[in-house]
């Protein structure tokens, strides 16, 4: 799962006992118009988006964009980063083989070749992918970029001891043959990985251990941003990442701030994807989040970089003021908040009991727990609508989404529990929205005699020791487990693979799939992973989604939204569905 900004704050939150470091954005807001369930281009909570969803379109260059982050960067090193905002931002100083297009709305969720000339060419069974690099791409010091630099970059990203934060897709899919790290590599050029071939300086070939048709999504990972071996300092490389993009680091004071200036060795002729506008980008780190919101509104700051939206306090203020509200976008995220139903806990091992739960849930209560319409749309299935090809369907409909108690009782009868039953519901103690969810579910299920015992567990070990540990969940009668998931990238694989495939469930805990155990789902996942053409693959992921809903292993909650504020001086502002926040590549400023 690509993490949202809240994770790094969890320790602080714990220490303070203050739980404020909470979910994405909202604790309330007005009913907003923009971004209905389908589009998600973030048309806005009343903004003046032009056709195509671009606010203040302009190609005027110059000026400084000021950004702030309420926490620290997970890492500026492309091998070691896993946040959506970091992947959005990394495109300013690094060029991966593929990238998400810098374009508004759904177009931003499409892949375009960046360092590569074109999308990857697979072999017949999609186990081998070949890319050709563009000519004339250079590092910031003027050295030309070769395919060996890309290979080296991927190699070092495999080393999870040095770079624990990044995703593990290359570790999981490349045919590693025991290769662990270039730092342990005995070959003199440190390029001993057999899974990647570099027949010449412009060609790179990836060999996979299993077929995978969506490899272009891997090729957009920051891990494919070239790293010059001579400048690699391992875990210290993040102090000075060598740029291939239009901006390079001028200063970098880790944990405090950094500044970027134009990279003289970046050549517009090699790059059809970027039109860099500002001359300078300044980023402050570890800034109090309420302070960020206030400075945004006051015009002292341009971007809250995490893209998670303003906090509850600023949100109350913005929503009460039409002028402020006009400068916001209520963006639909590739993130669902849902509750797992544990089929290992009786009587939920009976599908009729699980369906009874689905019918008994008052979905409006779930939405309220997450802040109403500003916090998200009511979800009727798993995959968020911003994911290309996602379909919205409702297998357990009810009037006004408040639950169908007659059908719920009927299912309870078929399950042999006509008077209901008692089970537990777990949630992450530090998250007030999950607590509100647990309480709301308790209230709504009580209507048909299903009693829930509420059990909070610490966030840090929720997956490792509690809800994500099958024997604990079973022994403690955790029939329901409040949870949520964000897509690594907007695609069925990026969203579903880690939460519905029963083969990722390990007895030792730390699971991301809490409850979906159905061989039929696994088979559908395999089919989707190996399906070649885009349309059929998207359809295949919808089939996975539908099967999970038929099994009633997950109660859909909401498709999350964030309330983003954009100061008036920003130009070319738009929400990209590639990252579900403002696109940082296209942004300019009128403030010189």
């Amino acid at each position: 799962m690509r993490r949202t900004r809240k994770n790094p704050r969890r320790l602080t939150a714990l220490a303070l006992g203050a739980v404020a470091a909470v979910a994405l954005a909202a604790c309330g807001g007005p009913s907003t118009t923009g971004s209905g369930s389908g589009g998600g281009t973030g048309g806005g909570a009343g903004g003046t988006a032009d056709a195509g969803g671009i606010h203040n379109p302009s190609d005027a260059t110059g000026g400084t964009i000021r950004m702030a982050n309420s926490g620290d960067w997970d890492s500026l090193d492309p091998a070691d980063t896993y946040y959506a905002y970091a992947w959005n931002f990394v495109r300013l100083y690094g060029r991966s083989l593929m990238m998400f297009k810098s374009a508004p709305g759904q177009e931003g969720a499409t892949l375009v070749p960046d360092l590569a000339e074109s999308a990857g060419t697979p072999n017949a069974d999609s186990t081998q992918w070949t890319y050709t690099l563009r000519q004339g791409v250079k590092f910031e010091d003027g050295t030309p970029v070769t395919s060996k630099d890309v290979k080296y970059a991927v190699e070092r990203s495999l080393d999870k001891t040095t770079f624990p934060n990044g995703p593990t897709y290359f570790n999981d899919f490349l045919d590693l043959q025991g290769y662990t790290s270039p730092y342990q590599d005995s070959s003199p050029d440190k390029l001993g990985l057999k899974a990647i071939d570099t027949p010449d300086d412009r060609t790179i070939v990836f060999k996979l251990s299993k077929p995978f048709s969506g490899f272009d999504y891997f090729a957009q990972l920051p891990a494919t941003i070239p790293v010059p071996q001579a400048k690699d300092t391992g875990s210290k490389y993040k102090e000075h990442v060598v740029s291939t993009g239009p901006y390079m680091f001028e200063t970098n004071d880790l944990g405090k701030s950094f500044a970027m200036v134009r990279n003289p060795n970046w050549d517009q002729a090699t790059d059809p994807n970027r039109k860099p506008l500002p001359d300078r980008i300044e980023v402050a780190l570890n800034v109090n989040s309420d302070d960020i919101d206030n400075r945004l509104i006051a015009g002292d700051l341009d971007v809250q970089i995490e893209g998670s939206g303003v906090g509850p306090a600023a949100q109350g203020r913005i929503l009460a003021d039409q002028n402020l509200k006009a400068s916001t976008d209520n963006a639909l995220l590739a993130r669902s908040w849902f509750t797992n139903v544990n089929g290992e806990v009786a009587p939920l091992d009976n599908i009729h009991c699980r369906i009874a739960v689905q019918y008994a849930v008052d979905r409006t209560g779930y939405q309220r727990a997450y802040g109403g319409a500003t916090g998200g749309d009511i979800a009727t299935n798993l995959m968020p609508p911003v994911i290309p090809g996602a379909e919205q369907f409702d297998l357990y409909p009810s009037a006004g989404n408040t639950g169908d108690l007659a059908k719920a009782k009927d299912e309870l009868n078929q399950c042999g529990q006509p008077n209901g039953f008692t089970t537990g519901i777990s949630y992450r103690a530090e998250r007030p929205k999950e607590k509100a969810t647990a309480e709301a579910l308790q209230q709504s299920l009580q209507r048909v005699g299903i009693n829930l015992e509420i059990k909070p567990y610490p966030l840090v070990d929720y997956l490792k020791l509690y809800a994500g540990k099958p024997d604990f969940a079973k022994a403690n009668n955790l029939g329901l487990m409040v949870y949520g998931w964000g897509a690594d990238w907007p695609d069925g694989f990026g969203f579903l693979s880690q939460i519905v495939d029963s083969r990722v469930i390990r007895d030792t805990g730390g699971n991301s799939n809490l409850s979906v155990r159905d061989p039929a789902v696994d088979a559908l996942v395999d089919k989707a992973v190996t399906t070649g053409d885009d349309a059929s693959r998207q359809k295949a992921w919808v089939d996975v989604d539908r099967k999970v809903m038929e099994d009633a292993y997950i109660i859909p909650g909401i498709w999350a939204k964030g309330l983003l504020y954009r100061p008036a001086n920003l130009t070319n502002v738009f929400i990209t569905n590639g990252f579900q926040m403002y696109d940082y590549l296209a942004m300019g400023t009128t403030r010189k």
């Binding site: 009913s31 309220r368 647990a438 308790q442 209230q443 509420i454 909070p456």
Partner: protein, 328 residues
């Protein structure tokens, strides 16, 4: 309070009552204390509030039936579906919702405060009783026997006083499973907190009782009882204990508010009684996310804790002054 108490001593049968002129009726030390207490209006007010609180806690279901809504009942109609804060002025305070409604789910804050008093007082009282019993037994034993017994018990008390009680409580409440010792749910959580609080606070009373017992055992009436062949248990129970009653009562009264605060702190940190059972600390914790847009939610539980702790403290102080005027 290291000085021995003079006043209660005269209750013991070893001292003959002073014969006074017939016109002046003899007053027992308790009567004297009561007279003093009656003159202390502040303490009396504290006492009245404490009595009221106990009444409220005992009659919670009745009060809520008359003036509120069930404490767990959701009232979505009271909450703005977009802003998630209660509609109406001052957090939705009106004739029906006396203290307004909670954000998000619209639960009646008044009912939750009333029910919350049960948890707070129950835990505080039980924990205090536990502390008092442990403290008295240990204190009297240490003070009366002296020597190595005293040294041992005193060192144990030092260890307990140095204990990081809050961290201990968080750790213990975190590892105890949902079902243990044949108990589960709220009962288990309440008893767990009572145990933690009571078990860690006993040395405060223990030390004071030990000091008193040290002084008392040298008194003539104890010597007299001993020389007349009274057994040790008899001396402890009949001679010593009645004379220790006043300080124990005073410190018990002062320990209750400490325990109320401690329970609130545990609930605030999320290791107390589990939701949705209303507790003041838990409400306060929920309210921290809303204080800027729904300040009423923080006001009421905060006020409840404040008033309760203040009342107990004022009453306890008054009681000490009345029973032992020299400590003033």
């Amino acid at each position: 309070m290291t000085a021995p108490l003079d006043v209660p001593e005269s209750t013991t049968q070893t001292l003959a009552p002073v014969a006074g002129p017939g016109a002046v009726a003899g007053r027992s030390p308790w009567q004297i204390a009561w007279t003093r207490l009656k003159r202390d209006k502040v303490a009396l007010a504290g006492g009245v509030v404490v009595l009221l609180l106990v009444l409220v806690a005992l009659c919670a279901p009745l009060i809520v039936r008359l003036l509120g809504h069930p404490p767990l009942e959701f009232h979505y109609e009271k909450v703005d579906p977009d802003l998630q804060v209660p509609t109406g002025r001052f957090g939705g305070m009106d004739g029906e919702f006396l203290f307004g409604a909670e954000p998000v789910n619209g639960r009646d804050i008044f009912s939750r405060i009333v029910y919350g008093s049960r948890i707070s007082l129950l835990i505080a009282f039980l924990a205090t009783v536990l502390s008092t019993v442990l403290g008295t037994v240990a204190g009297v034993t240490a003070g009366y026997f002296g020597g190595w017994v005293d040294t041992l018990i005193s060192r144990i008390m030092d260890v307990f006083l140095a204990f990081p009680i809050l961290l201990f409580a968080i750790a213990l409440a975190g590892v105890v499973p949902d079902q243990a010792f044949g108990l589960q749910g709220d009962t288990l959580r309440i008893l767990l907190i009572v145990f933690i609080t009571g078990f860690v606070n006993w040395p405060y009373i223990g030390r004071i009782v030990r000091g008193q017992a040290l002084a008392l055992r040298e008194r003539e009436f104890v010597d007299a009882a001993r020389s007349m062949g009274a057994s040790t248990p008899r001396i402890l129970v009949t001679e010593m204990l009645p004379n220790l009653f006043a300080p124990i009562l005073v410190y018990t009264t002062l320990l209750i508010p400490t325990n109320i605060l401690f329970e609130a702190a545990l609930s605030f940190l999320g290791v107390g009684v589990r939701p949705p059972t209303p507790t003041w600390g838990g409400m306060l914790s929920d309210a921290t996310h809303w204080y800027q847009i729904a300040p009423h939610f923080m006001l009421w539980p905060g006020l409840a804790i404040f008033v309760t702790v203040l009342a107990f403290n004022l009453f306890g102080d008054g009681l000490r002054d009345a029973l032992d005027p020299r400590s003033r």
